[in-house]
Structures are given as structure tokens and as C-alpha cells.
Symmetry: C2
Subunit: 429 residues, 2 copies
């Protein structure tokens, strides 16, 4: 994509309203634009990141034997009356009446809708387990929306719902989702700590919050150092239930079972929440199956959320410096930024155009800064938007055949031939 036709309106100044770094950097790099309090339009580069994050989540949900569906944003109040949540859910629920005076709401979550579908179509234990997820916009009418898309009102969420015959089955689904989450966040270069949590309005018996580590995180967490080397091959539900991790308000140094030299503390940002809640929804919504003995059994359920739009901010909180964003390659809007240092120099521009075409042919996502503006502003913009690699071509490149390759994360710069830089971009990352 050429910068001259793309649309990423960068800002030099920090917008007044932005209190946290991800909000500042998303506004400054032209990823989002506010429509009204807590409601945003995703501009082209922001949307690319959002879609890449959603795609990683989708792949890991599919790998965990889950089927993707898409539930509507607007739900009838009648379903929520069945579950008993309609009057419990407070002012965070956006409510409305339609032209026929029926009460409706913008879904903050979808336990009722999916359980209702399940109850209509699944009749036998032979069809279990079933896990359904969707990636859909949700609305929570926060009293004071802030921090950009980190605490917005309209937000994108992945929500998965599992249906099992037995408690053991439900625990296996819970376990599968924990594994999927560890994989998902690792693919975004995030360290995620599953913290035992209160179940809140979803209800139920067992719940973990996934906190990702970031210096600028919203809350303090305490955890066993073993988490830092946690991998998907060793994690089990049993292990997670014995490994210590606690939010600030629940951590008590007196009773903490982890020796001091093994205890870590860091700032965390909540990006996911998983619940096992048994038959809380299946009984009121009539989700029963015929068991092996021919009797009707209410299914055992869990639900598993990831804040997809929130993750965009969380990744920036975890990956930035004072110049701007440093995107992990898996979610970067483009892999490469190609800087033409003098578009008025014909030979330099021909060289850039040639390299740009070759990068496109090699299917390397490239933002080619072909704008007619000062070098300083170009460098600043490129650091701000945070693409993993910068290829810098100037008039000197025409004589030397060399360009400069900069790694945004490390800041390392090397001189490299144009042929080699192309090869390297094809194989690295």
C-alpha cells in the first residue's frame, strides 16, 4: 500500500483526552477515531490489526474443536427474562423497545441466545461435547468510558460456550479453552497469567481471568515465577489450580504459599475471562439431552471470553517505546515500511518502485511511504506506527546498491543490498 493513497492520519501532538499510552498511540497513529464517548470507528490500519488478532483467535478456537457461529447484536428481552438476568443486569445493558413495543437489548454477552439454539437442535448425549463461539460486537454502557478502546462501550468480543453431558466433560472443555488461550496470547507475544477470579454476573463455580503483563497495566498481580515458563504442553487444569496467582486485592503476603524468591509481581491487563457454571442456564432455558440411560439431563456449560478490540490496546501497552508502537509481527498492519527518502530523485524513486513491486509479488505486506515530505517526519511517522521492519532507500542507494534495514524493536540498523533485503524479508519472522 502506498502512503499517498492510504489513510492513517498521524498526529504530532498527544490528544488531551488520552490518559494511557495505548489510547494516545492509537489516536496518534491514526488507527481509530472517536464517534462519541466510548464508541469508535476503526480506520484502515487499526482494522487490519483488529482482523489479524481476530484471525489468530479464530484459528485457536477452531483447533480447540469449536464451531464458529454468528449471533445477532440485538436480542429479545424475553430470553433474558427466562434466565433471570434481565432485571439483575443494571444500567450497563443498553435497552430499547422496537416499533411494536417489544423490549430488546444490545447483547453484552450471549449465554441465553446460544443456550436457546442448543435446546432447539441438540437432543442426545451422542452429539456432545459441542463448543460454539462467535466474534461479534457487544455493548456495555459504561458509566465513564475511557482509555480509548480499552474501556469502550461498543467492543468486539470472542465468546465461546461449551456444552457437555457431565461435570468431567465440562472440565475438559474448560481445560481445552485454557490451552487455547495460552496459545492465542503467546502468538501475539504476550505473557498471559490466568488468575483465579470471582465469577460475577455470569455466575458459576470456577473462573479464571487472563491477565497479560504490561508495565502500564491497570492492576497489580502476584504470581508464581513458574508462569513465566508456562507452556501449552505442561499446563493442566490441576496445575493451574495449584499454581499461585492473585490480584492485588486478594494477595496476602502472610498467607501466600509461594516462597519470596519464587514470587513475582507485575502490572496486568485483563484480556480474557473463562467460566464454568454448570446448569445455571441450561435448566431455565431448557437445554436438556437424553443421556445414555434414556433420561433427560440438563447440560453442563461454560463460557469463555476474549476482548478482541481490547487486545489491540493491551498489545500496545505491552509493546511500545517513547517513539511509538512496536508491533509483534503476527498482528502488525504491515510487515515492512519502505521509506523513500527523496521522491523527487528519479533514480531513487525508480529503485523504490522496483523494490515495492518485488515485495508485493513476494506477498510481503508493505507500506511504501511515497509521500513528498521531510525525512524527519517520515522517520517519526514510521516509528510511531510501529511496523516490525523499515527499509530505507535514499539517493545514495542508487550508487551503492545498498539500503538500510532497521529492526523497529531492537533499533538495530544494517546496510544490506536490495537483493538481500528482499530475501531476508521473505524468510524472517
Amino acid at each position: 500500500m502506498r502512503s499517498s493513497v492510504y489513510f492513517y492520519p498521524t498526529l504530532k501532538e498527544t490528544p488531551q483526552e488520552a490518559q494511557i499510552v495505548s489510547h494516545r498511540l492509537m489516536l496518534r497513529s491514526g488507527m481509530i477515531s472517536q464517534v462519541t464517548a466510548g464508541i469508535y470507528t476503526w480506520l484502515p490500519s487499526g482494522l487490519k490489526v483488529l482482523n489479524k488478532i481476530a484471525q489468530i483467535i479464530r484459528q485457536e478456537q477452531d483447533r480447540a474443536q469449536s464451531l464458529e457461529v454468528l449471533m445477532p447484536t440485538i436480542q429479545p428481552a424475553a430470553l433474558w427474562e427466562k434466565s433471570g438476568r434481565y432485571h439483575i443486569y443494571g444500567k450497563e445493558m443498553l435497552r430499547m423497545v422496537d416499533r411494536h413495543e417489544r423490549e430488546m437489548l444490545y447483547g453484552p454477552t450471549a449465554e441465553e441466545v446460544i443456550t436457546d439454539i442448543f435446546s432447539r437442535f441438540v437432543k442426545s448425549y451422542k452429539d456432545l461435547p459441542k463448543r460454539f463461539y462467535n466474534i461479534q460486537w457487544k455493548f456495555r454502557d459504561e458509566i465513564r468510558p475511557r482509555f480509548g478502546i480499552m474501556r469502550g462501550r461498543e467492543f468486539l468480543m470472542k465468546d465461546n460456550y461449551s456444552f457437555d453431558l457431565t461435570v468431567e466433560g465440562a472440565k475438559a472443555s474448560y481445560q481445552a479453552m485454557l490451552e487455547a488461550y495460552v496459545r492465542t496470547f503467546a502468538r501475539m507475544d504476550l505473557t498471559a497469567i490466568p488468575v483465579r477470579a470471582a465469577t460475577g454476573p455470569i455466575g458459576g463455580d470456577l473462573s479464571h481471568e487472563f491477565q497479560i503483563l504490561a508495565e502500564t497495566g491497570e492492576s497489580e498481580i502476584f504470581y508464581d515465577a513458574a508462569y513465566e515458563t508456562l507452556d501449552v504442553n505442561t499446563i493442566t487444569l490441576e496445575r493451574l489450580q495449584t499454581l499461585y496467582a492473585a490480584a492485588d486485592e486478594l494477595h496476602d503476603p502472610q498467607t501466600c504459599p509461594v516462597p519470596a524468591d519464587q514470587l513475582r509481581t507485575a502490572r496486568g491487563i485483563e484480556v480474557g475471562h473463562v467460566f464454568y457454571f454448570g446448569t445455571k442456564y441450561s435448566i431455565p432455558l431448557g437445554a436438556y439431552v437424553t443421556g445414555p440411560d434414556g433420561k433427560q439431563v440438563p447440560v453442563e456449560m461454560g463460557s469463555y471470553g476474549i476482548g478482541v478490540s481490547r487486545l489491540v490496546g493491551a498489545i500496545i501497552e505491552a509493546h511500545h517505546d517513547d517513539k511509538g508502537i512496536i508491533w509483534p509481527e503476527s498482528v502488525a498492519p504491515f510487515k515492512v515500511g519502505l521509506l523513500n527518502l527523496n521522491i523527487k530523485d528519479k533514480a531513487c524513486t525508480e529503485m523504490c518502485e522496483d523494490l515495492y513491486q518485488k515485495l508485493l509479488q513476494a506477498k510481503i505486506e508493505t507500506l511504501y511511504d511515497d509521500r513528498d515530505m521531510g525525512i524527519g517526519a517520515k522517520f517519526a511517522d514510521m516509528d510511531l506506527i510501529g511496523l516490525p521492519w523499515q527499509i530505507i532507500v535514499g539517493p545514495r542507494s542508487v550508487t551503492t546498491g545498498q539500503c538500510e534495514l532497521k529492526n523497529r524493536r531492537t533499533g538495530e540498523k544494517i546496510e544490506i543490498s536490495l537483493e538481500d533485503v528482499l530475501k531476508r524479508m521473505c524468510y524472517c519472522g
Copy 2:
């Protein structure tokens, strides 16, 4: 995907409420499930089709130099008060107040939001033309929702908005979008006729509805036979403005300029609508740029919609028979249905498993019907869900090494070796 773990709850009986063939077939093939009047959940196979249609639209929008953004579903009433449409738009607009008593609405379209963004960031004619689109859920509170997702209340729409300095520029954008639409619909095996239309609540000077031909279409249209051979290389705005096409209510045989032997009539379904409306929104919303002479000029705009979810139904209306859906390969949920005629026959099942693995390795989207049920029901289900190709493997295949390959559209069946069927699936379509 294995049928035994997938989720496509097929129905033998036709649901009472479904009056048109696409609604019947979508319910019977388990693509959608109604949540409440005019609001649906997309089940796995329905969502796959919806996403494939969206992806074709996206590719053709990108090719037409448009940038994808994502606007929110909930918009502030204040923006619509600026354009003057808030009080004009009737009961089809779903309105609500948030917890701070601010009036909000679920966007039925997004001229106001995008024009507001444009006005904030684009300041010079040098940045024009700009074309932004998004594929987002919309809501129109239809008084009598019916026909399934063909006239639902929550529906997926692609809406593109063009911004140009001059009327000629705006016409070029309009032209680019007409070309994109012809390409888009052709890729879904649809014949689309752009019919001159009234502009309605969007307003403006020039407008075309895109009608696709289907025997079961909702309205009758009359058109020049030249449309049937229309291709993207010959279509121009001038030609479209001279070529005759009219909806039933506007067609007058007395004044029709097309000779009788050159006039065609058919049933049509509206799937897109394009508008040129000049400065109707740019002036009230302050979308001005500095022109080449240094003066402030309101930008010339157009908007261009495609009913993405509606297209799912429209394609079925155009492509079905009395046994079920006949998906065009470009939008089919799977390319191949593999039928195991006797899963209890060990050798037959091994053969199927082997072929299934090879199809997956070749990245051919395959639904493997590995369910333990009668052959008749399996054949009926496979015809109903309408995958382009059926590979039928039975116990006899074990001795002959041959399977049956059925083309769903033509009904043609051939005996073919298992090696050859794999090769053929890799190269055909």
C-alpha cells in the same frame, strides 16, 4: 470437516413460516436459526457462505481503490440532527437512550459518520479521491420482517462512500463502483442488471439499483438484451445511462425505446444500490477541502451499498432445484461432500478416511459425511445443502477402486478412480 462433529441441523419438513424458497432452504439446511422476528443467528455453514460472499465483495472493493474501515453499529443522534435526517427517518430507525439520557440509534446506514470523519482529517484536494467502505451490521426496524434474511431487521451491509473534488470526479467514482459491482456479482454466478432508480431517503441526483435475475424474484424488470452479455470491459456510465432497464412500475410498453425482439423481461431481486448525491452531506457536516485555487470547496459524494446477508438468500433464489441448494463454487460452504455409504464396513471407512485426509492435505474444503445413518437420508441431506461436488464411496469401491463423482448442478455422475477424483478436485472449478 466431519458431519459427526459439525453442526448443520437439517430438517425434512418445510417450516410453516417460510414463504419463499431461500428462506425454506436456509432453515432446512441448518444455515440459520431465528432468534426473534427478523433477527437470526448464523449457524456454521451459513456463516461460511456469508464470509465468502463478504470476502469477494471486499476484494472487488479493494480493487476499486477503496479503503476498508469499520464504523460502529451505535451512532449518536446528534450527527443525524446535523444532516437533518434524524427526524425524517421514520420508525425503521431503531432508537434508544443511553444511561446518560443521550439519544442514540442503531445505524441503518453511515453517511453521517463517515462524512464527519472525513471532515476531521482530510483538508486538501490533493488527498482526493478517497473511497471508504465497511462491512458492518445494520438495523432497519421493518414493520413486517419476513422472507428470512432477505428482509430481516439486523442485516449485514457493505457500504462505500466516495469523496471527490468535482462532479466529474464523483462520476468516475460512481463508474468505478458500477464496474466493481458487475465483477462482484459475476463472481457469484449472478446476472446483475443495474436499473435506474429513485433516490429515496439517501437523496441525490443519480441512482441505480442492482437487480439479480431469479425466477423467484420479488419484482418484474424489463431490460435490453444487451445486458445479458454485459461485461466489465464494455460497461461505462454513459452506456448504462442509455441502455434501457426499468422496474415493472416504471415500464411503459408505449414509450419503451427497445424493439420488442431486443426487450427481455425477468424477475429480479435487489441486492445493491448506488447513489450520487453531490454535497447533500458534505455541506451540513462541514466536509470541505482546499481546492487548487486555495478556496474551500464542499466535496462531491456518493454512496454504494450491497446487501451482504441478503445476497445469501438471493444466490439461493437464483441457484436451486426441488432437492435443495446448488451453490456456485465461489461461495459454497464446502467444495466437496464425501459420502461414506457404510461406516460399519471397515475397509470402506478406511478408504474414506484416506481420501478425506488427502483432500484436506490438498486444501480442498470437504464435508465428510461419516454419520451412522441410512443412505437415502445421506443423499437427501447432501443434495439439500448443495455442495458443488459429491464423492460417493461404498463397499463396492473397495473391490473396484472406483468411486462415484456427482456434479450437483448438472446431476451428471461418473465412475472414477480414487486417484483421479483427487486430481480432478484439485484442478476443477
